[in-house]
């Protein structure tokens, strides 16, 4: 039962990364691909009707984590107190920027929110990456089941780690590059003309960075978190996950050259999915590894009681089926490319 919930939470987090990932990425690259106000409006229009729904995956994943693994929720959220609060502030700023940008036509209002949107998206991508890095590296949990990490200490992987150390910063950079690639592929798919072309170029450049960082991070991870090696050794079937990631990454380059915009974006999805599932597979059955392995939180010592988990499975499946229907409907309704001209901007009105 707890393994099922471990997988379901992982699926929800993966959905969050795939969906909000492209709008975070779009935010991080929009100054690179859009030069004029009108072009930036197009970039924002590609995510305008969907970003809020994408972000709901984060809330839904958080809620699911809360009831399925309450001890993890309590320990992880209070231990990552500062970075989570900073993430919240960035989410507030970013949401405000996307929603309010187009309310006033003014040469100071619009660039201001464009910058907020860019900076918040960029920092969120880095922080989410660093958070993942923290989970992989392990946190200073002790026998009470709690920990508290300051933002940084000496940037080393010692006993008293901070949120940011050289490893987690590297993972943060990797996440930023990956989401920039993902976001530019999305913008490329949803726009026309120069914006679309420039997005393709940015994706192509980001691709090399992603390739290099993937190799580096993977090598480092085997050293930082021994469980990963052990898991792949115990269950060799797990190798399929990194293979998906590599195939996805190769697919991005291949499809970029073939100029198939849709497949390039899907390949990028496969890459992100492969990477995330590899990590999740690598740390299982831990949900929050500790620097001292004796205190690691696992699916067994963090889970809620069985009755709740069983009943949860029923409504979760119903709820997710409904959510999938809404998403398919909404994405189909806003299918197609954003128009280039100002008059028909917005969403086909």
């Amino acid at each position: 039962m707890e393994t099922i919930w471990f997988c379901l939470v992982a699926v929800m987090i993966a959905m969050y990364v795939l969906l909000d990932g492209f709008d975070l990425g779009a935010g991080a690259i929009h100054f690179l691909v859009a030069r004029t106000n009108e072009e930036r409006r197009q970039v924002i229009a590609t995510i305008g009707p969907v970003w809020d729904g994408n972000e709901v995956w984060l809330l839904a994943a958080g809620g699911t984590l809360y009831f399925a693994f309450p001890a993890l929720y309590a320990s992880g959220f209070s231990g990552f107190y500062l970075p989570l609060m900073i993430v919240l502030w960035l989410l507030i700023l970013r949401g405000t920027a996307v929603e309010f940008r187009n309310h006033i036509e003014s040469p100071i209002w619009i660039p201001f929110w464009d910058f907020v949107f860019f900076a918040a998206s960029l920092l969120l991508a880095i922080f989410f990456g660093a958070a993942l890095g923290n989970v992989v590296r392990g946190v200073p949990l002790d026998e009470s089941g709690y920990f508290f990490e300051p933002l940084w200490t000496n940037f080393q992987l010692g006993e008293h780690t901070g949120i940011l150390d050289w490893f987690t910063i590297l993972v943060g950079v990797q996440a930023l590059l990956a989401l920039m690639m993902h976001g530019s592929l999305w913008v490329r798919l949803k726009t026309r003309g120069e914006v679309s072309e420039r997005s393709g170029n940015v994706a192509g450049m980001a691709w090399w960075g992603v390739l290099a960082m993937t190799a580096v991070i993977t090598a480092l991870t085997f050293g930082v978190q021994p469980q990963v090696v052990a898991n792949f050794h115990t269950w060799p079937a797990g190798y399929i996950l990194p293979v998906i990631a590599i195939a996805g990454l190769a697919g991005v380059q291949f499809e970029l050259r073939r100029k198939n915009e849709r497949n390039a974006f899907l390949a990028s999805c496969a890459y992100l999915l492969g990477m995330l599932t590899s990590v999740v597979f690598g740390v299982y059955p831990m949900v929050l590894p500790a620097r001292n392995p004796a205190f690691s939180m696992t699916i067994r010592n963090a889970k809620a009681a069985d009755y709740g988990l069983k009943i949860g499975l029923i409504w979760w499946v119903i709820g997710m089926a409904l959510a999938t229907v809404y998403f398919v409907y909404v994405y189909r309704s806003f299918a197609g490319k954003i128009a280039e001209s100002a008059e028909s901007h917005g969403h086909g009105e």
């Binding site: 809330l59 309450p70 107190y81």
Partner: protein, 453 residues
Amino acid sequence: MGSALDVHRLQFAFTVTYHYLFPQLTMGLALLLVILKTLALRTGDEHYNRAARFWAKIFGINFALGVVTGIPMEFQFGTNWAEFSKSAGGVIGQTLAMEGVFSFFLESSFLGLFLYGEKRLGRIGHWCAAFLVFLGSWLSGYFIVATDAWMQHPTGYRLTPGGGFELTSFWGLLLNPWALAQYAHNMLGAVQTGCFVMAAVGAFYLLTKRDLFYGRTFVRIAVIVGVIAAILQMVPTGDFQGKMIAHHQPATLAAMEGLFVSQEGAPLAILGQPDVEKRRLDNPLEVPRMLSFLTYKRWGANVHGLDAFPQDQWPDKIELLYYSYHVMVGLGTIFIAVMGVSAFLLWRKKLFESRWMLWILMLSVPLPYIANTAGWITAELGRQPWLIYGLLRTVHGASPRVGAGNAWFTLLGFMGMYTVLSILWLFLIYREIEHGPEPDESHRAGADALAAG
């Protein structure tokens, strides 16, 4: 204000109070938008569609701020209240997760369609989108109220050997009688916020002699819905809520009413300042025997005062609890009067010419916000000193490793950020109201024609 616990409490109180300023209007307006879309569908009058589009813009701004200020609420259960989350997460995590899964997906998906897809969806489709947004936001309200209701009156759970709580009955949690009562009372409050805001905008247009058709429509709809909500808010829902508190949280009732000494034929305090040290109400204005009657339907019934309970079970902010309760009830009474008189004038076809009444409607707009806030403060301070009533004290619920310094840092951060959001909200909403419901080109001409006519 030194200890970390106080800062955790203050931060949650601040962020949740601020957050709820937005959803109360969202939920109230969602109902009114469905009414406007229904009128548009039934009459075929394009004015109603324009009116709906106008309110949809205000709804969109308000909704966005509700979303961004709402995300911190879910996070803070874990960040600031880790011990509580660890022991009770298996129970209340259910309702919180269901809110995400059942209502947020629904709301966010169809709000995008409602705001941007009117042409694409057609008349019926657009009505459906409005209805689904309404459904999503009202469902969301239910899951939150059910979560709070479990903390007020726990049901469907069992204590575990480790000192935590586990769910034993899903329906016991979801259909908690406290949740049903609190939900009805809470949603009527939200509807009143929606009505007072709509009435105020309508009154503003009528008083400034512009957009007269819309001004009348807004005032008419708001007053008709508002008078019904105002009455139901008091009887039966408010009355029922009071009886539940008397039954399940008697110490809370005593503190709310400022009743320090148990007595038969207890009076109802209308005004007066509680002096907790001296255990009395200063210069009270009281209705004799009324509290006994309201609580037990007998004029001579014995009502427990605070002296009937050990002091360690008294709510810890008695003064604030007393005032928030009295402010809520006082304003609720005023709402019945304002909406009642307005409805009477509307019926006599005099409302739109009664400038004094339109002034009152316009100036009343902050009051439902204050009443709803006071109501929630009453509920949450009334629950003290418990986090889960009778089971877990608030002192034992906070995060053990998050110190006061870090909590102050984030509380100040939220205060700064929310100040900016408030300014933005006021600025953007005022712009929309100033801009008005008519599309740009016909706005001036239309207003002039109406003014001339």
